[in-house]
C-alpha cells in the first residue's frame, strides 16, 4: 500500500505549544508542593506529549485531511485537565485500575491513551457513514440494550445507577449511549427532514409537526429519558434533552419545536420537583446552598469558596485548597481550575471550549450531506452543552448535576466518549475536504 502523506503543519505547530504548557504545569505544581526549585518527575507530561504527537503522526501518515484545530484544542484542554488532576492526586485516593495502584492523573493518562486510540480508529477508519447511517435502528437497539442492562445489572454510586463492572474496569454506558442517540437522531432526521419541515397541522398560531413522522424518534428518546431519569442521572437527562432539541431545531429550522420542547421540559422539571424528593433537594440546595452549608449544601458552597479564593489571577497551581471540595476531580474540576488559575485561566479554558464548539459547527456547515451535518451538530452540541451544564452547575447558575467536564474531569467513560466524538468530527471533516477536492478535480496525487 502506498502511503499518502498529508502534512498537517498547523496542527503540529499548535501541538508543540503543549510541549511548554503541560510540563510547565507539572513543574510549577511540583515546586509549589515540594517547596524546592526543581523539575520533579516528568514522565506523565512527556507521555502525554508523545501521545498527542503519535496521534498527529498517524493522521499525517494516513493522509488525513480533517480539521487541524481539533486535536490541538482537545490536547490543550485535556492537558490542563491532566495538570490539574496531577495537582489533586496527592489529596485523593489512589485507584485500582488494571490491577495497579495508580493516582488519578496516571489513571487518566491511561484513559487518554484509550481515548486517542478510539478517536484515531474512528477518524481514520470510518471511510463512509453507511455503517452509522444505515444501521441506525440497530444502533438504537444496542443503546437501549445497554441502558436496560445497566438499569438491571449495574451498581449504584451516590444514588445513581450508572456503572457496570467489566472485570478490570467499570464503565458508565450512559456516555456511549449519548453518542448512539446522536447517531440515531441524525440518521432519522436526515431521512425524514423534508417531511418534518413541511407543517401539516396547525393549532392556532403554532404549527405542529406531523406527528407520525416524529413518533419513532420521540418513542426512542422517551424510552432513553425514562431510563435515565429512573437511574437518577439528571445531568445526563438534561444533556440528552438539550441535544435532541438542538438537532431538531437545526434539522427543521423551527423555533416552535424548541419552544414546545422547552415548555415540556419546564413542565417535566416542575413535576419532577414535586414528585421526586431527590430532585426537590437538588433544587433547594441550588436556591440557597448556604442554608445548610455544613450538610447538603456543603459541596456547592465549598465550590463557591474555591471560586472566590481564586479571584482574578488565581492562587497559583498547587497553592489553593481545591481538595476541600468533595468530588473535586469529577464534578468540580472547573472550580478547582478557577481557584488556582483564576478568572483569567478559567476564561481561557471556556474560550477553548467555545473554539472547539465553533470548529465543530464549522465542520457541520461545510459538510456535504445532511446526515454528516446533523451528526457533526449533534456531537458538537453534546460536547458544548455538557461543558456548559457542568460549568453552570459549578457557578450556581443552574442546579448542580453530576456530569463531567469533557476532556478535563477524571473518568474513563467520559474521556473515551469525548474522544470518540472528536473522532467522528475529524472523520466528517476529512470526507468533506476530500469531496471538495474531488469536485475541483484535485486528486490526492495532484497535491
Amino acid at each position: 500500500m502506498r502511503l499518502t502523506l498529508a502534512w498537517r503543519w498547523a496542527e503540529l505547530r499548535m501541538l508543540l505549544a503543549l510541549a511548554v504548557l503541560v510540563p510547565l504545569g507539572f513543574v510549577v505544581t511540583h515546586i509549589a508542593r515540594a517547596g524546592v526549585l526543581e523539575a520533579g518527575p516528568l514522565t506523565l507530561p512527556v507521555a502525554y506529549l508523545l501521545l498527542m504527537l503519535v496521534a498527529h503522526g498517524l493522521l499525517v501518515v494516513s493522509g488525513h485531511r480533517g480539521d487541524q484545530l481539533m486535536l490541538p484544542l482537545v490536547g490543550t484542554i485535556g492537558g490542563i485537565g491532566l495538570v490539574m488532576l496531577n495537582r489533586l492526586a496527592p489529596d485523593l485516593e489512589k485507584t485500582q485500575a488494571f490491577g495497579l495502584q495508580l493516582d488519578v492523573a496516571q489513571t487518566q493518562m491511561i484513559w487518554f491513551s484509550g481515548g486517542v486510540l478510539a478517536m484515531l480508529v474512528v477518524a481514520i477508519g470510518l471511510r463512509d457513514d453507511g455503517l452509522l447511517r444505515h444501521y441506525k435502528y440497530t444502533w438504537a437497539a444496542i443503546g437501549i440494550g445497554l441502558l436496560a442492562f445497566t438499569a438491571l445489572f449495574g451498581y449504584d454510586v451516590n444514588g445513581a445507577r450508572l456503572w457496570i463492572d467489566l472485570g478490570p474496569v467499570a464503565i458508565q454506558p450512559g456516555e456511549l449511549i449519548k453518542i448512539i442517540l446522536v447517531v440515531f437522531i441524525a440518521g432519522y432526521l436526515a431521512d425524514n427532514r423534508a417531511l418534518l419541515t413541511e407543517a401539516s397541522l396547525r393549532i392556532g398560531p403554532i404549527r405542529v409537526p406531523p406527528l407520525p413522522y416524529l413518533l419513532p424518534m420521540l418513542a426512542l428518546f422517551g424510552a432513553v429519558m425514562l431510563v435515565v431519569v429512573r437511574q437518577n442521572d439528571l445531568g445526563q437527562a438534561l444533556l440528552l434533552f438539550g441535544i435532541f432539541l438542538t438537532m431538531l431545531f437545526v434539522a427543521t429550522g423551527r423555533r416552535s419545536y424548541v419552544l414546545i420542547g422547552l415548555l415540556l421540559f419546564v413542565a417535566g422539571a416542575y413535576l419532577a420537583y414535586r414528585l421526586f424528593p431527590h430532585v426537590a433537594a437538588r433544587v433547594d440546595i441550588w436556591i440557597d446552598p448556604f442554608a445548610d452549608a455544613q450538610g447538603s449544601g456543603f459541596q456547592p458552597v465549598r465550590g463557591l469558596f474555591a471560586l472566590a479564593r481564586g479571584g482574578l489571577f488565581g492562587e497559583g497551581l498547587g497553592q489553593g485548597l481545591p481538595a476541600t471540595i468533595p468530588y473535586v476531580h469529577t464534578d468540580f474540576i472547573f472550580a478547582a481550575i478557577a481557584e488556582e488559575l483564576g478568572l483569567v485561566g478559567a476564561f481561557a479554558l471556556l474560550a477553548m471550549f467555545l473554539m472547539l464548539v465553533f470548529r465543530g459547527l464549522r465542520v457541520a456547515v461545510l459538510a456535504r450531506d445532511e446526515f454528516s451535518a446533523l451528526l457533526a451538530v449533534g456531537v458538537t452540541t453534546s460536547l458544548g452543552l455538557q461543558s456548559l451544564i457542568i460549568v453552570a452547575g459549578n457557578l450556581k447558575l443552574i442546579p448542580l448535576t453530576g456530569i463531567t467536564l469533557p476532556f478535563v474531569s477524571y473518568g474513563g467513560s467520559s474521556i473515551l466518549a469525548s474522544f470518540l466524538m472528536i473522532g467522528l468530527l475529524l472523520s466528517i471533516s476529512h470526507r468533506t475536504t476530500l469531496a471538495a477536492e474531488r469536485e475541483q478535480g484535485i486528486g490526492p496525487d495532484d497535491r
Partner: protein, 514 residues
C-alpha cells in the same frame, strides 16, 4: 438551510458561554470579597488554625503577644494582662477582639499595609508573611497605671497631646487572654471562668464604658464658651453669690451648689469658679452658650459619634460619648434649660468614655488642636526571634493626620491657665491638688487638671474622675494628657486625682531619662 440553522445555533451557544463567563466573573471578582470573609470558608478556618500571627511589641520593643505553631495549631501567648483590652485576643474559638481584630489581616499576613504591594502579592499569588506591630503604648507606664487602679474597676487613658499617640490605656478588672487563645478545645473553661467573675472583665472600660462625667465636663463648657466669645476669663455673673447659698432657679427647677465647706460665695470669674468647681457658674455659662452651640461644640470635640483610635479600617472602635439623650444622629436635642444647665457641669444626660475625656484634656494641652489618636506606631516585617526585639524593616508608619482645630489657641490658653489654677491655685489645691505631679517628685512642672465626682442614682457611690496634663506651666510643652476613672470611687480629689498625678509624674520621670 441546515447551514443557516447551524450559524444561528453558534450564536446561541456563544450567548450561553457569555452568560457562564458572567457568572464566573460574579463569583471570582464581584462577590469574592464577601465569600472570602465568611467564617465557614475553609480558607479562613485553615488559615486561622495554623497561621503564625505576627508579634505585638510595646513602644520599647518588649513582646506583648506572640504566636507559636505547635501540632499545626497556632497558639498565642500574651505576656501582660494590663494589655488584654487594647490588644484583645485572637481565639480560634471565641473570635478576635481589640487590635488583634483591627490588624487581623496584617498580623496573619493576609494583607500588606501597602496597597500596591498587596496587589502585587495577589497577582504573584505570593503567600505573604505575618507582620509585627509596634504599639505606641509603653509597657512600663501601662503596668504602672494598672497597678494604680489595683483592685478597683476603672480605666486610665494617657496620650501624648502633641502626637495623639496613646501612652497607656488600661481597664480593670482585666483577664488573662492566653488560655482562651490556645487550643480551641481547651479554651472553654477559662472563658467561662472569666465571664463568671464580677465586674465584666471582658469590657474595655476605656473605650466602651460610658460614665456620667461630673465636673470634668466643666472643661468642655469653659473651652467652648471661651472660643464662642460667650465669656472671657474675667466674666462674672452678678447673681451668683446669692445663688450659691439659695440655689439657682432655672424654669422652676433649683440647681444647687455642691458643699463648698468653709468657703464663702463670691463673685467668681472662670479661674476661681473652676478651682472651687462651682456648678452655678458653669450653669450660667452653659445657658449663655445655648443648647445649639453646646451641641455644636460637643460634636467638634468628638462627642456624639462612634470614634476610633487609629484611622479608617484600622481604627480601634471607641463608643460614642453623649452630651444629651442619644438620638438618631448621635446626640439628641437638649430638651430644656434645666437639662442644658445641668449638662454644662457634667450631669443630666451626659455620658462619656474615658478615651473621649483624655482627648478633651489633650486638645486643651495641644493649644486647641485635637490630635488624631493612634495606639500603633508601625507595622514591621516579622521578627523570627521576638525576644531579640522587632525587626528593622518598617513596612508602614502610622500617621494620625495631624489633628483638627477645635477651639482657638487663645481659648485653649485661657482654659489651660484656669486648669493649672484648679490644681495648683490657692483654692484648687483643696480640690484637684492631689493631681499635681510635683507631689510625686517632679519638682519643676506645673499640672493642669480637673476632678470630677459624678453623682449617680441614690445610694450609689459617685464615679471618681480626673483629667489633666503636664507639664503645664507657662512655656511648658505638655507631654502627657490623662483621663482617670474609678468606678464608684467617690470624690475625684480623693482617688482619681492622685492616680492621675502619679501616672503623669511617672511618665515625665521615664521620659526624662531619670
Amino acid at each position: 438551510m441546515i447551514a443557516t440553522n447551524v450559524r444561528r445555533l453558534a450564536v446561541y451557544l456563544l450567548l450561553a458561554f457569555v452568560v457562564v463567563s458572567g457568572g464566573l466573573g460574579w463569583w471570582q471578582v464581584v462577590d469574592a470579597g464577601a465569600l472570602n470573609a465568611r467564617a465557614e470558608n475553609p480558607q479562613v478556618i485553615a488559615a486561622r488554625r495554623s497561621a503564625l500571627r505576627g508579634t505585638i511589641f510595646d513602644a520599647n520593643g518588649q513582646v506583648l503577644a506572640s504566636s507559636q505553631v505547635l501540632d499545626g495549631i497556632s497558639r498565642r501567648t500574651y505576656t501582660d494582662p494590663a494589655f488584654s483590652h487594647v490588644i484583645g485576643y485572637a481565639s480560634l474559638r471565641f473570635g478576635t477582639t481589640g487590635l488583634e481584630r483591627v490588624y487581623d489581616d496584617v498580623l496573619t499576613g493576609r494583607a500588606d499595609p501597602n496597597p500596591l504591594r498587596d496587589l502585587i502579592n495577589d497577582i504573584m499569588a505570593r503567600r505573604t508573611e505575618p507582620k509585627d506591630l509596634t504599639l505606641t503604648i509603653d509597657r512600663r507606664l501601662q503596668d504602672f497605671a494598672a497597678a494604680q487602679l489595683g483592685a478597683s474597676a476603672g480605666a486610665i487613658v494617657a496620650i501624648d497631646p502633641r502626637t495623639g499617640e496613646v501612652l497607656a490605656m488600661t481597664s480593670t478588672p482585666t483577664f488573662d487572654a492566653t488560655p482562651i487563645s490556645g487550643v480551641p478545645a481547651d479554651a472553654g473553661p477559662p472563658m467561662d471562668a472569666i465571664t463568671a467573675r464580677d465586674g465584666d472583665p471582658l469590657v474595655d472600660r476605656a473605650r466602651q464604658g460610658r460614665y456620667v462625667p461630673g465636673s470634668i465636663m466643666k472643661i468642655f463648657t469653659a473651652a467652648s464658651a471661651l472660643d464662642a466669645g460667650v465669656i472671657t476669663p474675667q466674666t462674672t455673673f452678678p447673681d451668683q453669690p446669692d445663688q450659691e447659698s439659695s440655689g439657682f432657679v432655672v424654669d422652676g427647677f433649683t440647681i444647687r451648689e455642691h458643699d463648698l465647706g468653709n468657703l464663702q460665695p463670691d463673685l467668681w470669674p472662670l479661674s476661681p469658679a473652676l478651682q472651687v468647681s462651682s456648678n452655678i457658674f458653669f450653669a450660667h455659662v452653659g445657658l449663655d452658650l445655648g443648647a445649639e452651640r453646646f451641641l455644636q461644640y460637643a460634636r467638634r470635640f468628638g462627642f456624639c459619634e462612634t470614634t476610633g483610635i487609629g484611622t479608617g479600617s484600622r481604627a480601634l472602635p471607641v463608643s460614642a460619648s453623649y452630651v444629651s439623650a442619644p438620638g438618631d444622629d448621635g446626640c439628641g436635642p437638649i430638651s430644656d434649660d434645666v437639662e442644658l444647665a445641668s449638662a454644662a457641669f457634667g450631669q443630666a444626660q451626659v455620658t462619656v468614655t474615658p478615651v473621649q475625656m483624655s482627648l478633651l484634656a489633650a486638645t486643651i494641652a495641644n493649644g486647641g488642636v485635637m490630635p488624631g489618636l493612634t495606639a500603633v506606631r508601625d507595622v514591621r516585617a516579622h521578627a523570627t526571634d521576638p525576644s531579640a526585639g522587632p525587626a528593622d524593616t518598617i513596612l508602614e508608619r502610622t500617621s494620625t493626620g495631624g489633628g483638627s482645630r477645635v477651639i482657638s489657641a487663645a481659648a485653649a490658653q485661657a482654659t489651660r491657665s484656669a486648669m493649672v489654677d484648679a490644681v495648683e491655685g490657692e483654692l484648687g489645691t483643696l480640690y484637684a491638688g492631689q493631681g499635681a505631679v510635683k507631689l510625686y517628685g517632679i519638682g519643676d512642672a506645673a499640672t493642669a487638671g480637673k476632678t470630677g465626682t459624678a453623682q449617680r442614682a441614690e445610694g450609689q457611690a459617685p464615679h471618681s474622675w480626673f483629667i489633666g496634663f503636664a507639664p503645664a506651666q507657662e512655656g511648658g510643652d505638655p507631654a502627657i494628657a490623662i483621663a482617670v476613672l474609678v468606678e464608684g470611687g467617690g470624690s475625684g480629689s480623693g482617688l482619681a486625682a492622685p492616680i492621675g498625678g502619679r501616672v503623669m509624674a511617672e511618665w515625665l520621670r521615664l521620659t526624662s531619662g531619670g
